[in-house]
């Protein structure tokens, strides 16, 4: 019964997600303010490509920041880079408020980084529900940590493909010990690659990475069907191995949500740790909710016809196939 419940949850999730063909486009934006002279700042606004279109959010600088010269725009493969230089009367930008009109209607977070001539660097995260940044000096470590933790938590909840993969694993896994082993393997694996990618030791370009992540979901579809036919396979016997292998890929995907470009070096370990904890908490919350729902299905004795039991496996596989083909085509 538990597996039927999970299958139906997977099926419903798949149907809900079918329309979101461009799943998991949550690359953050980046606003850098680099002090050039006591009163001059370089403003770099990197707006990610949003579902294949220019990002709807813009940057509204404080009125007393006087633009010098014409701003420039450079198109990068994954974003548009806007550059301008401004003069700030008095030189102090503390307490200034930078707004991001249009951000509130999106799912994009924005990193704001300030580098001053004295070598000090500060960063903060702006979220869509509070689309502005009030510039301040140094902030306590726990404030930054909280921001990165929330960022990680939100990132996995928005990462439909990651969640679908975890759901697929939950359907395949048999027994509590195996469940713990599998989820732990996935966690360890994605933590490794998240750290490697964030620290700059390894990277995979976005398009093939997204295609490979979609492939991991496609991979689980036939395995789910095998489970229901009573057959076995290496994946069914050792789901933790598959979780670990694909977890390495998913870790690179998580890293796309944490931009460390221009981040003060001293802050990177803290940001990485807090972001990863956020991802784990989000993942655990999802797994816990799924287990609760499974129990609820069992208690209410919700039964489904035999033919319907196979549907979710095919649905997960089809969605994985759709994403794989779509993302592969997008590479060329």
């Amino acid at each position: 019964m538990g597996r039927i419940a999970l299958l139906w949850i997977a099926s419903l999730a798949t149907l809900l997600l079918w329309g979101q063909s461009q799943a998991h486009e949550t690359q953050p934006g980046l606003l850098e303010l680099n002090q050039l002279s006591p009163e001059r700042y370089e403003v770099l606004w990197r707006a990610p490509i949003y579902y294949g279109k220019p990002h709807p959010a813009s940057v509204a600088l404080p009125e007393n920041w006087r633009p010098l010269g014409e701003p420039t725009v450079r198109q990068l493969p994954d974003s548009a880079l806007h550059r301008s230089v401004v003069e700030v009367a008095g030189g102090s930008i503390d307490s200034s408020v930078i707004r991001f009109p249009g951000l509130e209607g999106t799912i994009t977070d924005v990193f704001v980084r300030v580098s001053r001539l004295d070598g000090s660097e500060v960063s903060q995260v702006v979220r869509p529900f509070q689309p502005f940044a009030e510039l301040r000096g140094e902030r306590p470590w726990y404030v930054s940590s909280g921001e990165y933790l929330l960022l990680g938590f939100n990132h996995i909840l928005m990462g439909i493909d990651h969640l679908l993969f975890v759901l697929g694993l939950l359907i395949i896994v048999q027994g509590r010990i195996m469940l713990i082993k599998t989820i732990t393997a996935f966690t360890v694996a994605h933590s490794i690659t998240l750290a490697l990618a964030t620290l700059g030791y390894a990277s995979i370009p976005g398009p093939p990475l997204n295609a490979a992540i979609a492939l991991s979901i496609l991979f689980l579809g036939p395995e789910i069907v095998r489970v229901w036919r009573g057959q076995t396979s290496f994946t069914i016997r050792h789901p933790w191995v598959v979780a670990f292998a694909f977890g390495l890929l998913h870790g690179f995907g998580f890293a796309s949500g944490l931009s460390t470009v221009g981040m003060p070096k001293a802050e990177i370990p803290l940001a990485l740790l807090a972001f990863n904890i956020g991802v784990e908490l989000g993942q655990l919350a999802f797994v816990f909710l799924m287990l609760l729902l499974v129990r609820a299905f069992r208690v209410l004795e919700l039964h489904w016809p035999r033919w319907a039991e196979l549907l979710p496996g095919y649905a997960v596989g089809s969605l994985g196939a759709f994403w794989t083909i779509q993302r592969t085509v997008m590479m060329f």
Binding site: L16, R127, F129, N154, L157, M158, F297, V299, L300
Partner: protein
């Protein structure tokens, strides 16, 4: 806070003026905005709680039907409200239904599963229409409505299953006590509406 103050405080929360109704911005897109909207709307939550408690008390069959019919009616009515785009608010009916449901839970009314499901459908339809028309005014789309219905499904499933699985007699009494609080809140709202009408 003493438990006897619960209906009063809950009533105050529920009597927030309609202008305070808005779609919560979760920052995670319209689906999550919708899901969060239900979780942060005390009046909607209380109605859902009452009908799912009643269904849970009546056993697995009533629970099953409620879990399927409540969010289904909520979603379909929500889409109707969304497309009709007219302000829809029937506070008297909603409050009366809340009061009736609370009394039924408190009395552990021996309703057949079909009647419980019908009440769940009625509640879902009323809430859905109200949500849908409110979302239309905000310019939100069906995805937000899907989030609300999805959230209603998950909550209904969890509450129904939790009540059905209760075994000791005192736990059922505790559920009935919660029903009496819901009834008290409904009565308070009824009185308030009478005063302000």
């Amino acid at each position: 806070m003493k438990l006897r103050l619960f209906p009063f405080v809950a009533g105050l929360l529920l009597l927030a003026p309609p202008a305070s109704a808005h779609l919560v911005t979760s920052g995670l897109g319209p689906f999550y905005d919708g899901a969060l909207h239900l979780l942060l709307s005390p009046a909607d939550l209380l109605g859902l709680l009452a009908v799912t408690l009643l269904a849970g008390l009546r056993g697995p069959q009533a629970g099953r039907w409620t879990v399927l019919i409540l969010p289904g009616a909520w979603f379909v009515a929500g889409l109707i409200g969304l497309h009709a785009g007219i302000g829809f608010d029937l506070p008297w009916v909603s409050v009366l239904l809340l009061l009736v449901l609370g009394v039924m839970v408190a009395a552990d009314a021996k309703l057949p599963a079909g009647a419980v499901a019908a009440l769940a459908g009625l509640l879902g339809a009323l809430q859905g229409l109200a949500n849908g028309s409110a979302l239309a005014e905000l310019g939100a789309g069906p995805v937000a409505m899907l989030g609300i219905a999805g959230s209603a499904f998950v909550l209904a499933l969890l509450v129904c299953a939790a009540v059905v699985s209760l075994r000791p007699a005192w736990t059922r009494i505790a559920v009935r006590a919660v029903g009496s609080w819901v009834a008290a809140v409904g009565l308070l709202m009824f009185g308030w509406l009478s005063q302000t009408a």
